[in-house]
Symmetry: C2
Subunit: 356 residues, 2 copies
């Protein structure tokens, strides 16, 4: 069962929770905007459902709610940040502000953050560039779960690529994709719904497909099963490309930030992560209005592609999420009973009453 809560009320509640957990009022608002926008877009796996985890981290000191985010190195178009183990949402916001400012003066801005933490949906950070007529980018790494092609051990994270491109009258192009066949969130959905996994999502260290979601999830914790990279097992359908993209994202986000290896996992602690953010000026290449008219035209061409028999329409990246956000802005955000219970519990512990 779910209950709908208005975006405004949920945003207000979220901000009050993070204030109560020690963030400044401004920073609490930044976190609330990110989480509620993500739920509005229908990405329930990366929104307010994670609040208990973040609040717990702030309380036990494994996340820093008052980070001293410093620029260590800087050029006209780049900045290297020490993120001071800050809550990833605060790091994402500061990093994108720097990237956006640099894009306006130098044509582009590229920001690497060392010692950041989980920052929700990568696409949200890329999308912050859109109101400025900039193309936004964000890359992040995560725990090693993906098999390299022909490999028998999880080496690569689900390492998302996010890219946001402004349009005119059409909703923006917003790509936000794990470089594995599926992210962990998809497994969790099958687990909750007790639905078998399609072959080609998860394999054991002998390469055998696992289709029982309970077994797959349990064994993923011990690290003796692996997710497959986009393109699947072997090279026949391009699995080496998904693996290569995942490694590329690790390089750009984690290694360029100065980490010598994979994400270091300590049970009960939020791992330190490298992240990469970018903003590129459209005006540096084409007058922004001309480019946005081109985007509108081309987005419409894709969306009016004749569909295959049995299918209704062709989508573009970000379209589903945009439609969802229109609907949820009107009707409220549906929260599962379990998520609601956890949110109420956190609120009670911090003395913040749940709205309504």
């Amino acid at each position: 069962m779910t209950q709908r809560v208005s975006a405004a009320a949920l945003r207000d509640y979220t901000a009050r929770l993070f204030s109560a957990a020690g963030l400044s009022a401004e920073d609490a608002g930044i976190v609330a905007d990110a989480l509620v926008t993500t739920d509005l877009r229908g990405i329930d796996s990366h929104g307010v459902a994670h609040i208990p985890r973040y609040i717990r981290g702030l309380q036990n000191g494994s996340l820093n709610g008052r980070p001293n985010i410093r620029i260590l190195r800087e050029t006209p178009s780049t900045a290297m940040l020490d993120a001071d183990h800050g809550l990833g949402f605060l790091v994402g916001y500061r990093a994108m502000q720097i990237a956006i400012a640099k894009a306006k003066t130098a044509g582009s801005g590229w920001v690497s953050a060392h010692d950041s933490t989980h920052y929700g949906a990568a696409g949200y950070w890329a999308s912050l560039a859109l109101p400025h007529d900039l193309i936004g980018f964000s890359l992040c790494t995560s725990t090693s779960r993906i098999a390299p092609t022909f490999g028998a051990r999880g080496m690569v994270g689900t390492n998302p690529i996010a890219l946001a491109v402004p349009a005119g009258r059409e909703p923006p192009f917003l790509l936000d994709m794990a470089t594995s066949v599926v992210p962990m969130g998809k497994l969790e959905i099958h687990l909750r719904e007790d639905k078998p996994l399609p072959e080609g999502w998860v394999v054991d260290i002998n390469g055998k497909a696992l289709t029982d979601p309970h077994e797959a999830y349990r064994r993923s914790i011990d690290g003796d099963v692996m997710l497959l990279p986009l393109g699947g097992a072997g090279e026949t359908w391009g699995g080496h490309k998904g693996y290569g993209l995942g490694f590329a994202v690790e390089i750009m986000s984690h290694l360029l930030a100065g980490y010598a290896g994979a994400v270091a996992v300590t049970p009960g602690r939020e791992p330190g992560l490298g992240q990469f953010y970018g903003a590129l000026s459209v005006d540096a290449f084409q007058p922004a209005d001309d480019f946005k008219a081109i985007m509108d035209n081309r987005l419409r061409e894709y969306k009016t592609t004749p569909p295959l028999p049995g299918h209704e329409r062709v989508l573009v990246a970000g379209q589903k999420e945009w439609e969802k956000s229109q609907e949820r802005q009107r009707e409220g955000i549906p929260l599962h009973d379990e998520v609601l219970a956890h949110l109420r519990e956190v609120g009670a512990s911090l003395g913040v009453p749940f709205p309504g």
Copy 2:
């Protein structure tokens, strides 16, 4: 049958051909370096085998061998070029020189080229950044052959993504991948070898798999079959991600260069293309020597991943091509009789004798 020709002799011959076709001596050398390096790396589909096509284009005026490549707009980290329908190899070289110079002064350099043409292997252009301790990028679009997810018409090109990252003692990371399951070159190999295509590479406009390479190739010319995006048909294995990446590459390379739609195809003419090039300073984020030591360590960790039963080893992007270039540098580049015959023919028509 093949015959081995030394890289030096082939490079010299190629440069003389392009000189004879009207390029300056310097530019002819630039083209020869690109083509022969590509053959050295084992990417035979994008190297000297294409020389007859380029020479024909230069001769019939559908490629410009003396382009007036102009900077139309510029910021500290970006440049917009009018490439004057220049041979893509000349555009790639100039664009990367500009990107590299900007990366050295502004931290990064991003160059968009309007009215470029086919430029061979995208990875070659990215790799030009490596000797400068820069990370190199290149994106390009091509004829619409890929089905968008649930779509019944080819809309996206095979749109490659190339990324080159310097290492220390290890060969560099060099990713160069079409965003479709396979590039057209793979189809051509199956055609030559009369080998059936795996299901999941090519479908007709009803979504039915085609496995006969002759039928697939013939119908690809009429546009009534489609290649599938990385991740395959539908969304189950992430086909919408490959489609999204392909569209993203089109946006960054073709639309940002000012094109209002897909690549315009005119039979017998080399189409005008948008291309995107980039260089990012490593030193802007980490001392280059530290970063290259990190890359060495991590490349070795990936390469020593325990392999799946029945497999010998795990590769990293660019490893196979690096090994091939060592071998071919020593043993010579094997050229198929058919390729040799065409090269001799072109040489004879231009008064340039084939070596040996």
